[in-house]
Symmetry: C2
Subunit: 454 residues, 2 copies
């Protein structure tokens, strides 16, 4: 139980009233507060009371056509995280930004600003966007092809890191007497000209306290995993079984070597949805209650959307029409989830209705209903047998599901020496045990002449 033993990392995935798609209909949730900062403040403060490494906001730039049935994304990540930064002191703050529908200068700067505001507690979940709902809010055409999105993401991240490194750590001189505010020779324009972007730099904000905010990713396709192996420091992933979790973990870490990276420079965090009861029966009852609130017509809609086929013409209590389904390779958006659901349905012989219920709690992420002990056991098993460095916690309903986790599961993990009993570091990198990229090590390769700064 010494503090030098490997410990697990916990991230809270905040989603409005919770991850169960029917959570908003539960009597204990507060769906009217989707856009109320006080609601999110309370969640963040509870997570911090539980000593969690970080909290995380997902994001998309469109309103799902199924909004009749399900809750909103809620507030926009940069604005919400910044409000949470001043309402908390230690917990990390991870926000999503898409490389497909943004400009690298804006993203580099907003994360740098948030990193300053939070005292080094931010991370960027790098996504390439999924679905045309987002696409049509920017252009009169659908999502770019999967390969092109990742090619752009790759260049995007390179530019963003270059911009963070466009200031040396000690570039701010503030010499009042000599009249030198910034050392011009410690600023390094980027002069980037690539396939997608032309960005001169430098950034108009000093280097972030963490050097680079933490880079997080959640790709599931082969391209996505390769990208993660190259750049990500934490990876969210949906793994439905311990065995799949191990395969993913080993696969991802083994891809890192060719980029000159060590396995422990990337933390694998599978999604984990815990329905907690003081007895197993109580947990099952809660699960049944949530499942009982799901709306089948919405389930059919979302599966039809994923499988790119109208499932409403097939019997709800019959199997998926396997022969009629497109191959995963033909899918442009959400390849990983497509494969996951297909495997799950085949392996477990699920009907359409079964698959709706199996994925209602957490969209294909691992879900468990049980006592705090059972849940801690399961986490320990994943952690100790090479499937996880920690977890992306997806409470089925909020705030209750988080309160229970913090009050009942965290102490159990602490008793086992698996989780911190106090914050020992100040930054998000500290929490995850990841080194701060020094300017000398990372910045030099980007640095070019600074002739334009007088």
């Amino acid at each position: 139980m010494s503090s030098t033993e490997r410990q697990l990392h916990l991230n809270l995935f905040i989603l409005n009233t919770g991850h169960h798609e029917a959570s908003w209909r539960h009597r204990d949730t507060l769906p009217r507060q989707a856009a109320d900062v006080h609601y999110y403040k309370r969640l963040a403060q509870t997570a911090e009371r539980g000593l969690l490494d970080s909290l995380f906001l997902s994001d998309a730039y469109g309103l799902p056509p199924t909004i009749r049935y399900k809750v909103l994304q809620g507030l926009e990540p940069f604005t919400l995280l910044s409000a949470l930064a001043v309402a908390t002191e230690r917990i990390g703050l991870i926000g999503t930004a898409s490389t497909t529908y943004n400009e690298p200068f804006h993203i580099a700067r907003k994360f740098a600003s948030l990193d300053h505001i939070s005292g080094g507690r931010t991370g960027w979940n790098i996504v390439t966007s999924t679905g045309n709902t987002t696409a049509f809010n920017f252009r009169d055409e659908g999502l770019p092809r999967h390969e092109e999105r990742y090619e752009r993401a790759d260049e995007f991240v390179e530019v963003v890191r270059g911009l963070w490194d466009s200031w040396e750590d000690d570039a701010l001189a503030v010499d009042k007497a000599a009249g030198i505010y910034v050392h011009p020779d410690r600023l390094h324009p980027l002069n980037h000209k690539g396939k997608f972007f032309a960005v001169r730099g430098p950034l108009n904000i000093p280097r972030p306290p963490q050097g680079h905010p933490l880079l997080v990713q959640a790709g599931a396709s082969d391209t996505g995993k390769e990208f993660a192996a190259k750049v990500a420091e934490a990876v969210f992933t949906a793994q439905n079984t311990l065995e799949d979790g191990r395969l993913f973990y080993a696969d991802l870490k083994s891809r890192m070597r060719k980029y000159g990276r060590q396995a422990d420079q990337l933390k694998v965090l599978p999604g984990f949805c815990a329905i907690i009861g003081d007895t197993e029966a109580e947990a099952r009852e809660r699960e049944a209650e949530l499942h009982g609130l799901t709306q089948a017509e919405y389930g059919v809609y979302r599966l039809s959307n994923l499988f790119k086929i109208d499932l409403s013409v097939y019997p709800l209590d019959g199997p998926l029409p396997y022969d009629a389904l497109p191959e995963t390779a033909e899918i442009n958006s959400q390849k990983g989830r497509h494969q996951l659901y297909l495997d799950m349905a085949r392996r477990e012989g699920l009907t359409i209705r079964d698959l709706i219920m199996r994925t209602a709690s957490s969209r294909g992420h691992y879900a468990i209903a049980g006592t705090p002990l059972q849940i801690a056991d399961e986490m320990e098993r994943w952690f100790r047998t090479g499937a996880a460095d920690g977890f992306n916690l997806m409470p089925p309903y909020l705030p209750g599901g988080l309160d229970d986790f913090v009050d009942k599961v965290v102490p159990e993990l602490q008793n086992r020496g698996l989780f911190r009993t106090e914050y020992t570091g100040l930054t998000l990198r500290d929490h995850y045990g990841l080194a701060r990229p020094s300017w000398r090590e990372y910045g030099r390769e980007h640095a070019s002449a600074s002739r334009s700064f007088t």
Copy 2:
């Protein structure tokens, strides 16, 4: 002194250590805190203690090549304002976003989110960007032409307002029993296809508390003023004399009629830089102290940049080389300031050094050094003689210059019945006495069928 009498509106323009270009060298300023949220929190709380209508952050997307001599922009507006929203309760929060280097969907959503977070206290300073420093951080080419920037701005604002109106005020149903989260027929996709943008909508966040965050603008050219007359509800402007202020005020308000708008639907707020002393001599001394810290080589650089001619080859104590200067019409960026400086130099027969000093305090905005009484007199004169509905306060140095204003000038304005003695409203619109755009009035014209929402 009744509360129904017309009162003036005060906005605090926050700029790092203050508006005097040498303020960062002053012994009482804190230039190391450029990226420290606590510093800005203190400023915001002082402004709120002074019952100011709002505070404002300007913005540009690049690092000036003169950063050796002058302070940073500081933190990024959306992230900073959101942090300030939860650190304050009443004061309005105005942020700048450029229509030239952003996407309308992101801007509509971020301001909507900030409006929810702040409880209806946000405003958007709509700018079209100036200078190539910003331009080259996005593309491998300079700033688009002035006319094209405004054409894009016009379409941009139309899309943003349409997105804010894509939700009726009461679209959120949250009927747990019936399983209806949002009323689909109260969502209205935009289906916008214009010259610059294709945006389908709806937005993925409910209508902002204010309906529309306040629209602010600061154009000085003819096109800029026309745009302001059409869309702006508050206008920042640099006016060097009372007479110019009156002309601008009358000109701008007279342009509103053709857009079906009343004169009081737009508040004109000239920049106002007050160097405050308990005696006039003390104020003059402070001014001289700040002027004494200016760096002539920087002054020459910034004037050269504005006039598009290298002034370093002319004697500092001689006149501007009028014959060699390009006409304002030839200027693509900052036409308004170009004209202002030229007029000032001609009218007052200034040398290059004089012009540097005259514009060092506030870049051509009205500046005064005097006692609280003298300052209140001057404000009252502008306010009562048709030059201003209020002021854009530009303290020469911070935090001291703001403390003095709040502690010494505000009480004087209150004594005269010119300024509120408590906040009477909750939103930024309330403070400025501007009506909330009802969905029925504004939204209808944008609303299209909502077939895609089930």
